[in-house]
């Protein structure tokens, strides 16, 4: 299959989770590695072995600074992998991890990350069953990069398939958006902003389990909106199911401090990364039960219905206000950039 990726060089935008990333994956990796498969790309793949259905995923973690309010790269690695499995409709079971460490890194920093990873794994109920380590020259790894591969057991009665999404289905979010990305932006220290914000990194599986129990047959799709934010995940959904998504602006939960930082910097919370939230599409008859169950669960108090699926606008996401105004929410082009104009 011919490759369709024409960009002359790789830019940061290709890793930002938005349109450029999609172009790279769909245009270069997919045609070469996945051949003629026309299936939409998912967070985790489900494979069948002698009647058992396993979910398998891989992820990589590149974050600067590696320690930030609310967490560190080690926790992101465990939770991020567990979340990819969870939103594919699987219980996270085990993962293997590779550390690529920069020469010159103080050992206590590495130790702190390994401990953080162990603690996060325990909390998330996953076993770390193996790994690898490489050391690269000073300056080649921003302290350290972590990659993981995770496996999980498919949950019974849950089929995640964008093709099953229908007009009238409701869009749910598990909690406030934008916490992680803004925390990281502030932690970099370049913008001189301070706020009482922490990363939302956590395993979302407990909430996914609650959702599945309350709305199992009605759960059509889930995703954890990491890089690129909720806007990117929802645009991918709209494109994959060929329908439209309409969000209600006042229903989207955003913490005050995230809102303040976004207003100051000219950013949109819908484009900001999350590490402890998920989006779900649920059949309308199950939506109330789903939200009630989530709201009663620790960590799910802020879950909301934020919109619904419609016939139009085909393949696009619209956000509307209470007074009847609306605008298109696009996928991010590259990383969100602060603006002054």
């Amino acid at each position: 299959m011919p490759i369709r990726f024409r960009d002359p060089q790789i830019e940061m935008a290709h890793g930002a989770g938005g349109q450029a990333s999609r172009r790279l994956i769909e245009g270069l990796f997919a045609p070469i590695l996945f051949g003629a498969s026309a299936e939409p790309l998912t967070d985790a793949a489900h494979v069948k072995f002698d009647g058992a259905q396993l979910a398998i995923t891989t992820d990589s973690f590149v974050v600067k600074p590696i320690r930030f309010p609310g967490g560190s790269i080690g926790e992101l690695a465990v939770n991020g992998t567990a979340n990819d499995l969870a939103v594919s409709g699987a219980r996270p079971e085990a993962l293997v991890v590779t550390y690529i460490v920069e020469a010159g890194l103080r050992s206590e920093i590495l130790e702190a990350e390994v401990r953080a990873m162990g603690t996060a794994a325990q909390k998330a109920g996953v076993r770390i069953v193996g790994g690898d380590t490489k050391v690269v020259e000073h300056g080649k790894a921003d302290s350290m990069y972590i990659t993981t591969a995770g496996i999980g057991r498919a949950l019974k009665g849950v089929v995640i398939d964008p093709a099953s999404v229908k007009p009238g289905d409701k869009i749910l979010v598990s909690g406030p958006i934008g916490d992680h990305g803004i925390t990281i932006l502030l932690a970099r220290g370049e913008l001189d902003l301070e706020a009482d914000l922490t990363s939302d990194t956590r395993s979302v599986f407990p909430l996914v389990e609650v959702l599945v129990r309350a709305a199992g047959p009605g759960v059509r799709w889930m995703r954890d909106p990491t890089r690129g934010g909720a806007a990117t995940s929802l645009n991918e959904l709209a494109r994959d199911c060929g329908l439209g998504i309409v969000l209600q602006e006042e229903e989207i939960p955003v913490r005050d401090a995230v809102r303040g930082a976004c207003e100051l910097l000219g950013l949109d919370p819908l484009h900001i990364a999350n590490e402890g939230q998920f989006l779900a599409v649920v059949a309308p008859e199950y939506a109330d039960a789903a939200i009630n169950a989530l709201n009663l669960t620790l960590g799910g108090e802020d879950a909301r219905v934020i919109g619904e699926v419609r016939e139009q606008p085909t393949g696009a996401v619209l956000i509307s206000t209470r007074y009847g105004g609306s605008r298109i929410i696009d996928m991010l082009v590259g990383d969100p950039l602060p603006r002054i104009c």
Binding site: A195, D196, A257, R259, G260, E263, L264, R339, I340, C341
Partner: protein
Amino acid sequence: MCLAIPGKIIEISSDNPDTALIDVVGVRRKVDLGLLQDDRPVAGDWVLIHVGFAMSKISEQDAAEQMETLRMLGESEAAVQEVRGYGLDEPSNRPWDGRNRVEDLE
């Protein structure tokens, strides 16, 4: 041009009267007050912030008057005309609100 956001002055820096800490719903940043040196704000004042500099003091009175005008939209046309007769749009007719405005110095 001009992304500018209202923020509240939390404190003026003790070693530099041109620097203040402002708060925007819990987000804090130091801003430069150098452009307001003719009419220095104090802690508790609200200012308009653009690229890390305070551009103008925000008048709570003008904001309240504006809200009142907006609430009256759609009331009878006569009521609206009456309000216009107060000359709220003309700077020279603006009631004194205790602020030291530049045009008042003329």
